[in-house]
């Protein structure tokens, strides 16, 4: 089971990369009441038959590890969403791509903490199978609204390949500055129990 929302995002967006997508979009929209996440890719998609099975933790297409009988990414997410009055939808078309969207009710006591989004974004942008990723993160509260966008191709143009420790630390500094700016508009301080996650 994953501990924080950043971990679920890492897991699910990686599915898009592994589906041979040339373009992946991650949108995170937060208000005082809800957190909505949307992951859209143009990868190989799934037919209706497979879509019925992916929430079964004992289903895997066996392509990555021939003898493994588990696939826990989406089942973990749907379980977490169920535990805290969230929503989960999966739309996919074979050959066209997949859309996963989910939301959490932030007032529910069982909602996972956000975790370290900066490292989540750095890991996703630097993932070796990530061709293009556009992350849009926004927060709207009674204090105001702030948003930022991270586009892999733009960052690579500035930094070069996102592969070495020096470059990744620069990327993290950049992402952190965006997230810090946005957090000024946060109204309810989040529980800090998992600040190292």
């Amino acid at each position: 089971m994953h501990i924080c929302i950043g971990d679920y995002l890492l897991d699910i967006v990686q599915n898009s990369f592994e589906a041979e997508s040339s373009f992946v979009e991650l949108t995170i929209t937060e208000t005082e009441d809800t957190l909505e996440c949307l992951i859209r890719d143009n990868g190989k998609g799934m037919d209706a038959e497979v879509q019925k099975k992916v929430l079964d933790p004992f289903y895997s297409d066996g392509r990555k590890h021939a003898k493994r009988k588990v696939g826990l990414g989406l089942p973990f997410l749907s379980q977490a969403v169920e535990a805290c009055e969230g929503t989960f939808t999966l739309q996919s078309e074979k050959g066209k791509g997949t859309l996963v969207s989910f939301s959490f009710n932030l007032h529910n006591i069982d909602v996972p903490p956000m975790g370290d989004l900066n490292t989540t974004f750095v890991a996703l942008l630097a993932h070796p199978l990530c061709k293009e990723l556009v992350i849009t993160r926004s927060l709207e509260t009674s204090k105001g609204r702030e948003s930022y966008t991270l586009k892999k191709s733009e960052l690579v143009e500035v930094l070069g390949p996102l592969t070495t420790s020096g470059t990744l630390n620069l990327l993290k500094e950049f992402v952190t500055s965006q997230e810090e700016e946005l957090k000024q508009y946060q109204n309810t301080p989040q529980l800090d129990l998992h600040k190292n996650r």
């Binding site: 089971m1 750095v122 930094l159």
Partner: protein
């Protein structure tokens, strides 16, 4: 920290590159590969990745390749990472927490000595490729 623009980032990178050229290159050609499968993530691979970046930054080592892969078949000792240093055997370390990450950088990458108490052999037999993964 004020919100950076892409232009700020470009300037910072140029400044950094000038500094790098003045330093001896430590960790050149070393690679750290973090297992980021569902098993790795659940066991804390994300903070481990971040710890490696932080330690390398503190030690001003900019040249280590830090990348990610899926499950390496050692789900029972996650988080797992592979370290490849020229002239040393490729090693998969398991149960890597913040303290271990620090030791791996200091002892293996800088000191060129294995951290033997965190070694858990090769990937599990059922995912080893027939050609040995080459």
């Amino acid at each position: 920290m004020a919100k950076m623009t892409l232009e700020d980032l470009r300037k910072l990178r140029e400044k950094k590159q000038n500094e790098i050229q003045k330093r001896d290159i430590e960790g050149k050609d070393a690679r750290i590969i973090v297992g980021m499968g569902t098993c790795g993530i659940a066991a804390g691979a994300k903070p481990v990745l971040d710890t490696f970046l932080q330690i390398l930054d503190e030690k001003k080592i900019d040249n280590v390749s830090v990348t990610q892969t899926g499950c390496m078949g050692l789900c029972y000792v996650e988080p797992t990472i592979e370290v490849i240093v020229p002239g040393m055997p490729d090693v998969i370390y398991g149960k890597v927490d913040v303290e271990t990450a620090k030791r791996i950088v200091e002892q293996h990458i800088i000191g060129k000595q294995l951290v033997t108490d965190h070694m858990f052999d090769r990937p599990a037999a059922d995912i080893i490729k027939k050609d040995g993964g080459k």
